[in-house]
């Protein structure tokens, strides 16, 4: 792993900043906003999550704007393992996936047997996507083998469920580490690599996302296996979401602009996207009262 090519911090940040200046308007903007919803992992990860809260979120995810059938459903509802069964019940055959965080989210600091057990139980309860965290303690101490083995074991525990591997880039310290962890996770079998848990600051940033996407691009070139990307944490506005789509478009290309290869992890982004769509269609901003708070 130490032989992984390095990243230039100044270069990555400049490139990300220059992409954020691209202009997306009108039809393209509507398409991008629609895509942002289709790629959204609508998330609630709170100690106070209840079956009632999950029910509300599922309803919102299936039909984000009541009365407006042109708005698509989100990609998945992302919850804690204990809430998977609730989500599964409410989502039914809507096509919206159930994603469960796992492996002692958000810290990852527990025993491997428990991580495997947690993963298996979440899948058994109906999760078809698993968002695991890597063991940053092991990664930062240089024990890459342990990190790798854990991902392999969790991937196996997932069975048919899709595995997203959270790197928690805010704790990795450098872009070099981010790139190294990305390659490690993909080599170990990740279907997606994901920036953050949302519990640590900084969470997703544009430059970190650029570095991860570049790692994906290199990995695909080497192996031919496409891996998805999911930024998560701190993405609250349509403008931010579109900036991520621009970086995605220019780095991985149009083939990645689909929920199969791109997800946006977010808890409060959806209403802003709905408001922007409404604004594009009607030409005016609507009162917040018209958007449901779930």
């Amino acid at each position: 792993m130490r032989g992984v090519r390095s990243v230039d911090q100044v270069g990555a940040e400049e490139r990300a900043a220059s992409l954020a200046k691209r202009s997306i308007k009108k039809a393209s903007k509507l398409w991008a906003l629609d895509l942002a919803i289709r790629c959204m992992d609508l998330t609630t990860l709170e100690g106070m999550d209840t079956p009632g809260k999950i029910a509300a979120l599922c309803a919102k995810g299936i039909r984000p704007k009541p009365g407006d059938p042109t708005i698509p459903s989100v990609a998945a509802i992302c919850v804690y393992p204990a809430r998977v069964a609730d989500a599964r019940e409410h989502l039914g055959s809507s096509g919206v996936h159930v994603a469960s965080v796992a492996t002692a989210f958000p810290s990852g600091q527990t025993f491997l047997s428990l991580k495997i057990d947690e993963t298996q139980q979440a899948v058994a309860a109906g999760a078809d996507e698993v968002d695991m965290v890597i063991d940053r303690g092991a990664f930062l101490s240089g024990d890459y083998q342990k990190v790798y083995d854990e991902i392999v074991a969790v991937k196996e525990a997932c069975g048919d469920a899709h595995l997203k591997v959270i790197l928690e880039t805010g704790e990795l310290g450098t872009y070099d580490s981010v790139r190294r962890a990305s390659i490690l996770a993909m080599a170990a079998g990740a279907d997606f690599i994901k920036t953050s848990t949302g519990k640590v600051q900084p969470a997703a940033t544009l430059p970190v996302s650029l570095v991860m996407m570049e790692a994906i691009r290199d990995f695909v070139r080497e192996t031919g296996r496409p891996v998805g990307f999911k930024p998560a944490g701190g993405i609250r506005t349509s403008k931010q979401a579109i900036a991520y789509l621009v970086v995605l478009y220019e780095t991985l290309g149009p083939e990645w602009m689909t929920p199969e290869r791109f997800r946006l992890g977010a808890s409060s982004l959806l209403n802003d996207v709905l408001m922007q769509i409404e604004k594009e269609n009607s030409g005016a901003y609507q009162s917040l009262d018209y958007f449901t708070i779930d």
Binding site: R5, K21, R22, I24, L30, D34, T70, I71, R221
Partner: protein, 490 residues
């Protein structure tokens, strides 16, 4: 869900596209014709000759300027000489105040200047907006700070201004080159007669307006438009004590010949054929950005452009693949559009020169690559181009193309990289891409180039001296060194 599906099919035909985002030109007022800026005012020229300046992106005429003749040049030099007496004697802190004022007005009028620069020269608005204008203002700001500290900067030598400086600047960075010339000259207490390039006179005409707005004393700055003839009249006028020229090596050599024996001070900033050297341990994605920025920035109309890419053979293939993918994302088109990466070629003559050299590259056996790229029907355009299978002996590897054309060569060892990079009559700049700090220093010691960038390219700052080795000229602009050319230090 059937309903949601319908919306998807509706949107399925839509693609992700950047919307045209043209910068408005409403706030810009370009006169139908311009006179000459002499003695603090726009004055009627003696010369009856005028020529048009056009927008290279549309071939539309923007304005008409004078081709100043010997009488006009004489008037301007006399005005500058007259102003020198008082300008060189007013308190240095007062000179600083005028320069700070100019810097502030440049910032205030940044949008207007950026739009004019883009219309007259063809460069993308994002470059004139983010690079040319802010750097021009920064240059005045920086040298304003030195104006009252010259005695500290050059202790024990009693620095004194030289006199009237004759300055001739190129068309690739019109306002920025003007700032590089005028700011240090004025800070040191000189007065100037400046001739902008014939294809890009408009930002200099706006600058004349800014001098008036700043109430700069009459005659401290004089601006004459014209072509090569006017330029040679300026540099050969006996009242000019110092000549500064930025442009082609050919013209630079002829100026140097013509000044022999006149006792005039001379600095030259001429052509280049910079090597951008990528080692196998380099951060490749950043290197690709640096390569693109190095050669396609300002359509390659950059004297320090990284026009020769030297790649360590072990990473030639992955790097080239990444580079080609990146070339396909470059957006060529309306320079006023904020999404545009590559604007128009500055002039028809330049376009022909680029096309001719590219033709020679194909004939000599190099392999051409150009991304699919639709060129606008009107205006002067050239797609981003790269050549592989290039030998050191090919013209495209030797001559300055001054266009968006990259020649890719390979090397095996650091020694070979140094040898190939230095094997050129030029020596303006070089780039080194490696993760190894010690190798950067090792390379920098051996490069015969005035600027060596490490893990970046085309980065400028007023505090950093810029200038060439060998046929890229002599003298430095920027930094403390930039003042030395405008001061008597003996």
């Amino acid at each position: 869900m059937a309903i949601a599906k319908r919306s998807r099919t509706q949107l399925a035909t839509q693609r992700f596209e950047y919307a045209p985002a043209p910068e408005s030109t409403d706030h810009v007022k370009i006169e139908k014709r311009y006179d000459l800026f002499i003695g603090g005012r726009m004055v009627k020229a003696h010369s009856q000759k005028r020529f048009p300046t056009i927008n290279p992106a549309t071939e539309e005429k923007l304005s008409e300027v004078v081709e100043a003749d010997a009488v006009d040049v004489d008037r301007a030099v006399k005005a500058a000489s007259k102003a020198f007496d008082s300008w060189s004697r007013i308190g240095p802190s007062r000179r600083a105040r005028y320069l700070f004022r100019i810097s502030r007005i440049l910032q205030e009028r940044a949008r207007e200047l950026a739009v004019v620069e883009t219309m007259d020269g063809g460069k993308p608005i994002k470059e004139s907006r983010d690079v040319d204008i802010p750097l021009s203002a920064a240059h005045f700001f920086y040298y304003a700070g030195w104006a009252d500290k010259l005695e500290w900067a050059f202790p024990n030598v009693k620095p004194r201004p030289i006199g009237v400086a004759g300055q001739v600047i190129p068309w690739n960075f019109p306002l920025l080159m003007l700032a590089w010339k005028i700011a240090p000259a004025l800070a040191a207490g000189n007065t100037v007669v400046l001739k902008p390039a014939e294809t890009t006179p408009l930002s200099a005409m706006l600058f004349a307006d800014i001098c008036m707005q700043a109430e700069l004393p009459d005659g401290v700055v004089n601006i004459l438009t014209g072509a090569g003839k006017t330029g040679s009249l300026v540099v050969s006028h006996p009242g000019v004590r110092k000549v500064a020229f930025t442009g082609s090596t050919e013209v630079g050599k002829s100026i140097q010949r013509s000044l022999a024996g006149t006792g005039k001070r001379l600095t030259l900033e001429l052509g280049g054929k910079a090597a951008n050297i990528v080692f196998e341990d380099a951060p490749l994605d950043a290197a690709v950005e640096g390569i693109v920025n190095g050669i396609y920035f300002n359509q390659g109309h950059v004297c320090c452009a990284g026009s020769r890419l030297l790649v360590q053979e072990s990473i030639f293939e992955p790097l080239l693949e990444k580079l080609k993918i990146r070339l396909n994302t470059l957006r060529l088109g309306d320079p006023l559009d904020k999404n545009t990466d590559i604007g128009a070629i500055n002039s028809k003559a330049q376009l022909e020169k680029i096309a001719g050299l590219v033709e020679s590259g194909i004939e000599e056996g190099a392999e051409l690559y150009q991304p699919e790229c639709k060129l606008p029907e009107r205006g002067y355009w050239f797609p981003p181009t790269l050549f592989t299978n290039v030998s050191q002996s090919y013209r495209i590897a030797r001559e300055e193309i001054f266009g968006p054309v990259l020649s890719v060569l390979t090397f095996r060892t650091p020694d070979e990289a140094v040898e190939k990079a230095n094997n050129t009559p030029y020596g303006l700049s070089a780039g080194v891409w490696t993760d190894k700090g010690s190798r950067i220093l090792w390379m920098a010691e051996r490069m015969r180039a005035g600027v060596v960038w490490a893990n970046t390219f085309n980065r400028f700052d007023p505090t950093s001296p810029f200038g060439g080795y060998k046929e890229s000229g002599y003298g430095r602009e920027g930094g403390l060194h930039g003042l030395m050319s405008y001061l008597e230090l003996n």
